[in-house]
């Protein structure tokens, strides 16, 4: 179907689709718990982070380019586990990919995880906003490089 997804993202999608609806929610919660803390060099620099306006809860992302390799970081409050889960999926699925690969990720990737029923389409939209901002940051950083 979408065999051209990067392996990391395809794996996450397959993990979700293999589960029943309530278990998908549980997996999203696990992702939420796994969102890594910001690295030292970003901790005291909120100015480097971009707010994702499409999300109902405050979530901030930053994408760094290490040559052509993408590193994504995100932070969201503990009381917003759904948003944290979405951010964590992208951090884990996108970090380490090449910039070209990230730019080629289909914009509807969040819709492929089978979360519309368990989480609701409106909420899933927040993740789409995050993905499009990641891509925009990559494009901008490349242009500046």
């Amino acid at each position: 179907m979408t065999s051209d997804l990067p392996e990391s993202l395809a794996e996450i999608r397959d993990d979700f689709l293999a589960l029943s609806q309530p278990d998908r929610l549980q997996l999203l919660l696990e992702f939420s718990g796994e969102l890594p803390a910001l690295p030292e060099h970003l901790k005291d620099h909120p100015d480097l982070l971009e707010r994702v306006e499409e999300c109902q809860s405050p979530v901030f992302i930053v994408v760094e380019l290490d040559g052509e390799t993408v590193r994504m970081h995100a932070t969201a409050p503990r009381e917003s586990p759904t948003t944290r889960g979405f951010a964590s999926i992208l951090v884990q699925g996108l970090s380490g990919l090449s910039a070209d690969d990230v730019l080629a990720v289909p914009p509807d990737y969040p819709q492929m995880l089978g979360l519309n029923e368990a989480v609701s389409p409106l909420r899933v939209r927040g993740m789409s906003g995050m993905l499009s901002r990641v891509k925009r940051q990559i494009a901008m950083k490349r242009a500046l490089a």
Binding site: L29, Q56, E79, T82, E117, S120
Partner: protein
């Protein structure tokens, strides 16, 4: 068998103090037969990260809304939903949630559409319970399913549709959104996702009273005298007025509906759940832009 009400002094000035309980009261009554505690949040996973022991979860998106039509579930759906969570028709239901009880108030309003008699809000919601360092568990409540009767939803008493609002023009309307949404600068709450209204502004003659004016910094409701200041002196509501409240999708205005109905005692308050996402996209309905309420349109 209803559970005793909370006699706390801070509630005695409210019109219906039996509709609200304090965190102290809830902590003392947890586990009492006849009491079911319900958590209802904006965030669909928040309950899973920890909740009040014994509380069951009701999600507005995935459980209270009809999955196809823009409407609430019907009587059979409601009976199956709440019966499955161990709620009987005579249960005392105490609802709490995140974001100052927005979605808790919304759930309470939906319970009221089905005429559930004894449904109350936890004053201060999840944030207050947490701030006080009270007990949380991640253990999912093992609800014993019970029989709940199939009751027809009453959409005429506390719910308003677009045509009702058109009919109502000339009587008080309360727009509980942010000033930016009211004036038409934006169509969503600050920092909220676009939810697809095609026009910005407000319903003509509506008073802008952002919902949060009803709560103190700790998330609890303001005392009656301060609420009177906001709604009677500020927005000009008078005894006996029929009132319609609206926001963007009806959740923040459920909160205001609760304040006007249960705390201040207005007897004819309806929530327009279609709210701005309907009105702002409907063809040929009157709209006013800017920070003034604007005149009542001629009909």
């Amino acid at each position: 068998m209803p559970v005793a009400t909370d006699p706390a002094a801070q509630f005695t000035g409210f019109a219906h103090p039996e509709r609200i309980v304090s965190t102290d009261w809830l902590a003392a009554h947890l586990g009492e037969p006849g009491l079911v505690v319900v958590e209802s949040d904006e965030d669909v996973l928040l309950y899973e990260t920890g909740h009040i022991p014994g509380a069951v979860k009701v999600d507005w998106h995935t459980e209270l809304n009809d999955p196809v039509t823009r409407d609430y579930i019907d009587g059979a759906g409601f009976a199956a939903l709440v019966g499955g969570k161990g709620i009987s028709r005579d249960s005392t239901v105490v609802i709490y949630g995140d974001k100052n009880n927005w979605w808790a108030a919304y759930a309470l309003w939906v319970f009221t559409l089905f005429g559930h008699e004894d449904v109350r809000l936890l004053d201060g919601g999840r944030a207050k319970w947490e701030a006080e360092g009270r007990e949380y568990t991640t253990e999912k409540a093992a609800a014993q399913a019970v029989e709940y009767p199939v009751v027809e939803r009453d959409d005429t008493t506390i719910r308003a549709f677009k045509d009702d609002v058109l009919e109502h023009l000339g009587s008080p309307l309360i727009d509980v959104r942010s000033p930016e949404e009211f004036s038409g600068e934006r169509t969503t709450a600050p920092a909220y996702p676009e939810e697809g209204a095609l026009r910005g502004g407000h319903i003509p003659s509506a008073q802008n009273v952002p919902w949060a004016k009803a709560v103190a910094d700790d998330g609890t409701f303001r005392p009656p005298v301060e609420l009177d200041e906001v709604y009677r002196a500020g927005a000009g509501l008078a005894e006996g007025d029929p009132v319609i409240a609206y926001c963007r999708i009806g959740e923040r205005s459920s909160h205001t509906w609760f304040v006007l109905t249960h705390l201040l005692g207005f007897e004819n308050v309806r929530n327009y759940d279609g709210s701005w996402t309907e009105w702002g996209s409907a063809v040929r309905v009157p709209i006013v832009k800017g920070s003034e309420p604007g005149p009542v349109p001629q009909r």
